[in-house]
Amino acid sequence: MYQYDAYDKTLVNQRARQYRDQAQRRVEGDLTEDEFRPLRLMNGLYQELHSYMMRINIPYGTLSSAQLRKLAHVARTYDRGYGHFTTRQNIQFNWVSLEQSPDILAELATVEMHAIQSSGNCIRNVTADAFAGAAADEVEDSRIWAEIIRQWSTLHPEFAFLPRKFKIAATGSANDRAAIRVHDIGVALYRNAEGETGFQVVVGGGQGRTPMIAKTIREFLPTRHLLSYLEAILRVYNQFGRRDNKYKARIKILVHEIGAQPFAEAVEQEWEQIKDSALLLPRNEETRIKSFFAPPQFENLSPEVPAFDAKRSTDAAFAAWARVNVVAHKAAGYCIVIISLKAPERAPGDATDTQMDAIADLADHFSLGEIRVTQEQNLVLPHVKLAHLYGLWQALAHHELATANAGMATDFVSCPGLDFCTLASARSIPVAQRIGRQLDNIQRLHEIGELRIKISGCVNACGHHHVGHIGILGVEKQGEEFYQITLGGDPGTEAAIGKIIGPAFAGDKVAGAVENLIETYLAQRANGERLIDTYRRIGTQPFKENLYATA
């Protein structure tokens, strides 16, 4: 993974000092709250319902064991012993103080971490495929380009005060695990017919109040032009994005209002002026960054691992876990392990300091010291030998980290909701817990198969409910919590926005409603298809009829 040199270290240290000075000036009254707000947001500090929350960047979801240990330390020392992994591969601490926030940033800087631009109307954390560098289906490691974009966007002086937040995602595989089509900009790396590597560039995707799938504005962009092209897009957005209405200020609205084609032309026009400028990435810098993402020295292993097969046939619990939490790796004899942070009764995506420390140790022992964060709020050990899986699984189980539900119905994506968030209309975590109780049988979960349920506590859709196979949106009606259910969303290559199925449900009826949808699916399922496939085949009607049938 990327290692900081003196330049990177100087930047995070100076930034931490700059923030300390700004926080001090706020406390002394030299800055009003209105003036301080954009500054603290650009260092990740939010005022939430109960306290300050700090969002720390985890660039493209990659962590070293040392970094994860530091996050455990932050949880323990400055917070209440846990952290929350987010849908943008970041981590949030819910109970920090303004007073100590400069100390947190100073500590993070010692392990090459920061909270720069994790919030605010600027370019946020660049996310990528959590399986990058390990997945069998990859063209190139998308994190190379995510790192290049990260540096270009960090403290970019022209784009510090955009109309609204800006999110970029990169994928290096045709199977898009980075959800690029619901990002402001998505870049998909591929090899064209001539064998050149370049990007398909999509713009204007997003969720929130007006969910939209991104439009392709450039079919093929040679990699060396990436930064100039991004700069052109950002410049057009910075100048022409709406600033009159916070809810119409994202780039998706601009693309929608002027049209994808005119937007693409405006970008091309600007790009013509800058494509051969200093933004052309020098070859030696490209090589330098690529060197950090060179594949590790995998051992020459046989793809056949009899010990693994034997354990699977003798230990049913292990077999169940291996069936869904273990993913194919490009190197023979290795695999990718998904550590589920969705244990029953737990808040989806949360991990305690003890769990983080344990995972850091396991990463050192089993995964070349590396951990990933997924956009589904789970963690990943990317390079595990199949031969080590049983021992790893036992260790994970000891720490409540071996729930065999990756991609299953209880692998919820959920925002923190009204329990924590000032923007929320309703709670989300209890909904996940209730559904989880209904579906607390692993065999049944596996029988149901892949089912991505995503829960948002308000229309801002931080739980990504629009792209859930089943989406759940919390709303407030006359002081009570109600939940709208959507069907048919998908975040990946076949990106789609879910459709509302009918009238909303009271909080205590949601689990039953989800159960009902699953029943319809199981009754109609053909050829072992997933719920989302059944939905695509038979449409909303059968689900709706069964769901709203009066007894």
């Binding site: 330049y7 930047l11 540096q151 002086p157 784009f159 910075n238 933004l279």
Partner: protein
Amino acid sequence: MPLLRNGHIALDQWVAVGDDEALPEDAPIIVSLARWQTERGKLVDEYRQIGIRLKGGDQASDIANDLPYFDLIAIEFASVADGRGYSTARLLRGRHDFTGELRAVGHIIRDVFPFLHRCGFDAVETRNERDAKAWRESVGAIKITYQPATDKRLPTTVLRHLSNAVAAE
């Protein structure tokens, strides 16, 4: 509201003239884009030094052909959150090669000094003396620049490899 020019507090000889105000005689004046567009001929004839004040939504392209007439361009930041002026400045300074004074006015706090500086502004109307005195400290707070901008600082993409190049000799 102390004026900073190239990082130092300076006397401001310019006179900002509102759209409905009478034009003063023989003074370096700053007028709005709207006034420039309606009274262009008269202004060019009667004033040796003309400055123009752009709002956030005004485009560099609106005045690109007229740049030779201006000794000063002031770009207004209606709020700290309105970042359009940074793009306008970069286009005027960088693309259209404007060599006169490029001044940031409006709601400016010292924390945006580094962004103003890197986008080509050489003058800033600060809100108080304390902010003005903090220019050097603010602009120098973070010395590393990852990306090219309109200032002279080398981006790290180039800087990192310079020492290698030297050592290789």
